[in-house]
Amino acid sequence: MDFLSATDGTATVGVVPILVGPAQALLAALPGILVALGTLIVTMFKPTTMKRLAQLLWSQKLIVIPIVLVVAGLIYGWEVLVPHGPGKVSALVGGDKSWAAYRGGADRRASVSGQSVEDPAHGKVNWSFSDGKINTFYCAPAVVGNRIYVSAARYEYFSDVGAIYSIDADTGKMVWAFQGDKYRSTFSSPAVSGKYLVVGEGLHETMDSRVFCLDIEQSEKKHQGVKLWDYRTTSHMESSPCIDKDRAIIGAGDDGVLCLALAPDKDGKARKLWQLPGKDFPDCESAPLVVDGKLYFGLGRERHAICCVDPKDGRLLWEVPTPFPTDSPAIAGGKLYVGMGVGDFVNDAAKLRGLKQEEMKKNGKSPAEIEAALAELKTGGEVWCIDLAKHTVDWKYKEIGDTMLGPPAVDGERVYLGSRDGNLYCLSTSGQFIRKFNAHGPIDAGPAVGNKYVYVLTGNGVLYGLDKITLAAVWNVNFNCPSFSSPTVADGHVYLGTNGGGLLCVGEPGVEKTEAIWAGALGGAGKSGAMDGSLVPTGGTYGWGVGSSDEEDSETASASAVVVQSPAACIGDTFYVGVQESGLCGVAALSCSGNLDRKPEQRWFAATKLPVTISPAATERFVFFAEGRVGDKGRALRCVDRKTKANVWSRAIADEATGEFVITAEKLVADRLIIADTATGLTCLDISGAKEPKELWKAETGSSVGAPAVSGDLVVVAAIQGLQAIDRANGKILWTEKLPSPPLTGAVILGDRVWVGTAEGLRGYSLVQGEAPRVVDCGPVTGRIIADGERLVCVTASGELIVADAEKGTIAARLPGVNTSVGPILAGDTLLYAAKDSLVRYDLRTKQGALWAKVTATFPGLLTTPMIMVDSHVLFGTDKSGLVCMKPKKGS
């Protein structure tokens, strides 16, 4: 449905919406309806008909009069009793702040900065706002203090009504509304600075759009939008203004670019300071920006370019031509980032090509001319980076599947942008592709970037919160309602508009609180021991060693007094590690009291009869560990109180069982422990209570490798018989997938696949359908597989570290010379792995490796266990220095 207008032979390739209400279906029947109605009205108003009608009504007056009164009362009461004015609202807070440009500022992050509240990462819709009549919000909300400022739209065939609202962010109640001067449906997003709110008016087919300026202070007092001035153009206006000192600048469609003074003239009228003519600056629908005294904006059809203008007088300083219409640019660090492509909110490139072809054929153009014209309308998008000092293009990234209709957001060294191809892209500020997230729906808006997460809203009404480093989805909310709006993050919530579903406040600060769990070896299947989201610093240095010999003389130093026998588990600031100390085996609890730079104290030591070589697992209440190696007699799975080490329970493990186990959680609490406690299968225990665990089921899987992998209700184990999927609830084996050779690693679940290492490489099987496996041909795999995002990492028997793309089944990186007995850590886009005499840090984005720390046989000793990382501190066992902590090197 569109009112796309083709002008002078060229198909419109605008980037802004061309929208209508739902009445188009009626258009075809309209003439008939009108005729019928007209006939009825004429018939009714014939004098004889009127007289008869009046007589009828009077004869039934005892019934008619009460009905009339009730109806009138309802109508009156609705207007009076049902509140349409402002509800209970909080006092204005933070009104001195501003939102002076689209998406909050030059970096377009749409996030209120400097707040101590965590980014939202859980929860649903907290409230929705609509005044009952208008419930569509195309704009990007502006958040200033505890007020949300939005424009709204109700565009139907017979009606075009808009409004400007101030909403109480705390309660979702309307503070005030402006609907005066027949304000129309609007796409433009407000800008706020001090007492001034400036916003455009209209949609694409509004040919005399206005700019409005409201007085927020007076509006707040009067609970009603108070207009200072308005200015009428002769074109549409989907741009959003920016406020720079005492002026507002806005794109005015085919009327060029307007600069208006914030303060009205003495007659209360708008003061135009300057205007760039539309004939020279056509189709300016992007949101301009003023940065360091210069004005930047993009142009649409006919003259695609990024322009730089003096905001004082509108003088063009320079421009950079672009091949496509551009959207609103983002600026940070002296660079301008802008997306562009073919297509708009209604028409994708294919449709535009179709329209163009039709039009050119009608105009009698030759096939060659048509082909040439269509070639310019190819599907795809690009992002450019322009150096503002040199006015040159630093880089172009062209691997975007479709156009971008929202601005990029720049956060530090990353640029985020959403595309109609359904992906959120993350690039480095130097133009390198980092990764992307498939949102499975067109992204028509700019993302919002908080402190920890990036938020993206799809056109079909799904909001995602993604880890801004890994782009792993941490949260999503499905509104089942389309949206052209862009999300804004403030005060631990996301605010966004919808098409017909009102203005929404969504989410709560932080992630859903769950019990802290260390699920098993290195955090669980597919984990690498980096569980808290901290990043690998650029360099590491020895921090401390627990249990090392005190002898300082290298020549006479003996082996460590404490032998670390298992990887550590970590809950809070306490590590749990299997050790052998002075001839005694057991698990030691070492606490750093919140400061990992300090050597920890031993809180307790739980002695065991047999060595603990499998990593303990832990929850906030308990620590679980398995005594003994395969073949030892008298092995046991034990549970001790995490604080006191008091024995809670103990269960036997068969001599020949692997003893590998994992803890799972449901409804935020650790509730199950699944262990290979026999040579032939798994046992599932209910550990949710504080007493002896209840055995829930046993599954005869055969001898397994590694710990089971769990995802939702599915448990997958790599066994001799093959990969086996088990129902977590009842232990029923759901399917078995034979492997061409025995598994060499445990199973790992990534997305909708389970992966296992074999002699042939990595093999990935669908969790559901048992379709043909995806194979990464890297050679025999040893150790563990790490799975993160779309990446798989493993070490081969030949000492190569393999990074594979799980989606494509291809190898993205091969790093030789890797220690095969100590797996790497994967944190974000960085690997830390053990090589000869060193730990090496490898950046997966730049594909550059660098020495992270020297770790030699002399000092601190040979690594005897895999590494874990907590708060960017890396811990591992050594033969000379016990449990060693490598801390971030200063300056890194």
Binding site: T541, S548, P860
Partner: protein, 626 residues
């Protein structure tokens, strides 16, 4: 000095200052960035420069990357700033022929910066200055300008820059510090002394590797000891009765403890302490001028020999077996130093790298070098140009570029010198190519001290001024390029009374925490100590000689970690030991050489504390094993 000469010197000094420029160290573009971003690094030797400023230079070595041209041409007049080009011609004509050329598209990590961007540039380092070149035709380069900003990357000699390049390329953990990386903790008042204070020093009276603070004062010397909570004046306890203008501590009597040789302005006395630590008074005295005291091992069965600097021949004082002192001049005959200006102190150390201590007797305009022929014996002196400068002065030795040879730093009322040891007993003035110390350090310092204080093992420099200016501590970026510890300067301003300046000061681990702090004797007589702020644990190595050492020294000590040497330093009995604070844990190699002896070594691992190595005990143990 004639007026004209003074003017010339002044102009030269100004030119030196200006040419060294105000180059604050640039943390965004260090030599590591420079090397890593260079596509090519070559050394060039200037063959000639013609009248139009066209330089012809031979490419003598390709250090990094590929460079086909065997010869390059540089048009020094191509740039806008002709004056820059002319200045380069002057430097070339002064004999600076060797340069290093870096070629690459350089960019800084932060804002602002040197020539950079996507276009490849040439950075030519020649005579301590940076010239920015852009590629011309063929093998030609056009000079754009002299870039002072690049001095923030490296301010030092080209010879040292070559060593930096080699270091960065060979050590994946290479560091070139841009700041001191440490700070002082809360100041502690040590005491207050009336009258003039001549000097402060750390001494290890008990041989436990701990430093007590000795203050030489007009109205009586003091000794302060940290008792864990505060400084205690133990002068009376140890029976300190001296009033020293010059002093030296040594075990002159072979009793296993250091005693004080003191010059009070009139007479020299050696205060022999009793076995319980209390002094028993003077044993002997000697009259005559005394401009400095130092000790060495004169082959006197472990008993230290005292060297007294005078206006003439230095005097050697040793103890006989009966305890009496024997004196003799270091050499005889007509004294050759009369035309070298005012005499100053002497330094005894191995200055020519042959493992035998030498004597350098300093004068204001030169020095006499007495080469050690064997331990305790010296050849006739040779004149050298290593002068102190005029007026009150200080001297210290240090190995600031970790070459294994001791350089000499002198400070005086008119200027400072850094005498770079070229080997074979030759020294060259290089203060102009030594980083911040060349343009920030002022004349007027009366004391200087070499210290490895900031955790990277590199030897830094302390300068104490007697003219109302606060002390300056310089960290070493490596290879004799210093940076001023600005934050330490600022920290001293907590003491308002320090605004008037200080009379004396030194660095030492006086609070026994394993890191060097700053002791200051202020103009008003207050003595203050600023301990080093330790975040987690003090790490490092202390190398010392026990008081019962069979050799009084100076023992030459080298400490190294992996491939990086921390440089050589001399060590004597009575000194509190050479403390190398270390930020990083790990193995460290300690090497030492007694005068005329073999090089010995020991590996230690520094983990969470300061490791103490008493080298004569190690040597004794090793000898036992044999």
């Amino acid at each position: 000095m004639s007026m004209i000469r003074k003017l010339v010197v002044s102009v030269a000094l100004v030119a030196l200052v200006c040419s060294s420029a105000w180059a604050f160290i640039n943390p965004n573009f260090t030599p590591i960035d420079l090397v890593k971003q260079s596509d090519v690094i070559v050394t060039v030797e200037i063959k000639n420069v013609d009248k139009d400023g066209l330089v012809t230079a031979t490419v003598t070595k390709v250090i990094q990357g590929k460079f086909e041209d065997k010869e390059i041409k540089i048009d020094l007049m191509a740039g806008v700033a002709e004056a820059d080009g002319k200045a380069v011609i002057d430097r070339i004509n002064d004999g600076n022929k060797v340069g290093v050329l870096f070629v690459g598209a350089f960019h800084e990590g932060g804002d602002g910066g040197a020539a950079g961007g996507n276009e490849a540039k040439g950075f030519l380092h020649l005579a301590g200055m940076w010239e920015i070149l852009s590629k011309g035709k063929g093998n030609g380069w056009d000079m754009e300008k002299t870039d002072d900003h690049m001095l923030g990357t490296w301010s030092g000699g080209t010879d040292m820059l070559l060593r930096v390049i080699d270091y960065v390329r060979s050590d994946p953990e290479a560091t070139v510090p841009v700041r001191e990386g440490m700070e002082w903790g809360k100041e502690i008042q040590v005491g207050k002394i009336e009258g003039k204070i001549y000097a402060t020093a750390g001494i290890d009276l008990e041989g436990k590797g701990k430093a007590d603070l000795f203050v030489a004062a007009e109205k009586g010397d003091h000794l302060f000891r940290w008792n864990g909570k505060a400084f205690e004046d133990i002068s009376e306890k140890v029976g300190l009765k001296s009033k020293s203008q010059q002093f030296a501590w040594g075990d002159f009597y072979g009793e296993g403890r250091p005693v004080l040789a003191s010059w009070d302005g009139k007479a020299l006395a050696i205060f022999r302490t009793g076995k319980d630590g209390t002094a028993v008074g003077t044993v002997s005295s000697i009259s005559g001028s005394c401009l400095g005291l130092t000790t060495f091992d004169g082959g006197n069965k472990g008993r230290a020999t005292l060297l007294v600097s005078t206006n003439g021949w230095p005097v050697v004082i040793s103890t006989a077996s009966d305890g009496n002192l024997q004196t003799k001049p270091l050499a005889t005959g007509e004294f050759p130093g009369k035309d070298l200006g005012a005499a100053g102190e002497s330094v005894v150390a191995d200055l020519d790298g042959d493992a035998v201590p030498d004597v350098m007797q300093f004068f204001s305009r030169g020095a006499l070098f007495y080469k050690g022929t064997k331990p305790g014996e010296f050849a006739a002196p040779v004149k050298m140009g290593v002068g102190l400068g005029e007026g009150r002065h200080g001297v210290c030795v240090g190995d600031w570029e970790a070459s294994g040879l001791l350089d000499i730093f002198t400070c005086a009322e008119n200027r400072n010198h850094l005498w770079h040891n070229m080997g074979g007993g030759k020294f060259a003035e290089e203060i102009g190519k030594s980083g911040s110390v060349s343009y920030i350090a002022k004349p007027g310092a009366t004391f200087c001290q070499t210290v490895a204080f900031n955790g990277d093992g590199r030897q830094g420099l302390l300068m104490v001024y007697g003219n109302g200016m606060g002390p300056q501590v310089y960290f070493n970026r490596g290879f004799r390029s210093f940076g001023l510890c600005r934050s330490l300067e600022k920290q001293l301003s907590v003491l308002k009374q320090a605004d008037a300046g200080e009379q004396a000061g030194c660095l030492g681990d006086f609070s026994g925490e394993g890191a060097l702090g700053q002791a200051l004797a202020l103009v008003n007589g207050e003595i203050w100590f600023f301990p080093q702020k330790i975040e987690e644990t003090a790490r490092g190595v202390v190398v010392s000689l026990s008081p019962a050492s069979p050799n009084a020294g100076p023992v030459m000590v080298w400490v190294a970690r992996d491939k990086r040497s921390f440089g050589v330093a001399p060590l004597r009995v009575g000194e509190p030991g050479l403390l190398y604070s270390l930020i990083e844990a790990g193995p460290v190699t300690v090497k030492w050489q007694f005068p005329g002896g073999e090089v010995q070594q020991k590996e230690v691992t520094v983990k969470d504390k300061v490791v103490r190595v008493v080298i004569d005990k190690v040597a004794a143990k090793a000898a036992e094993k044999k």
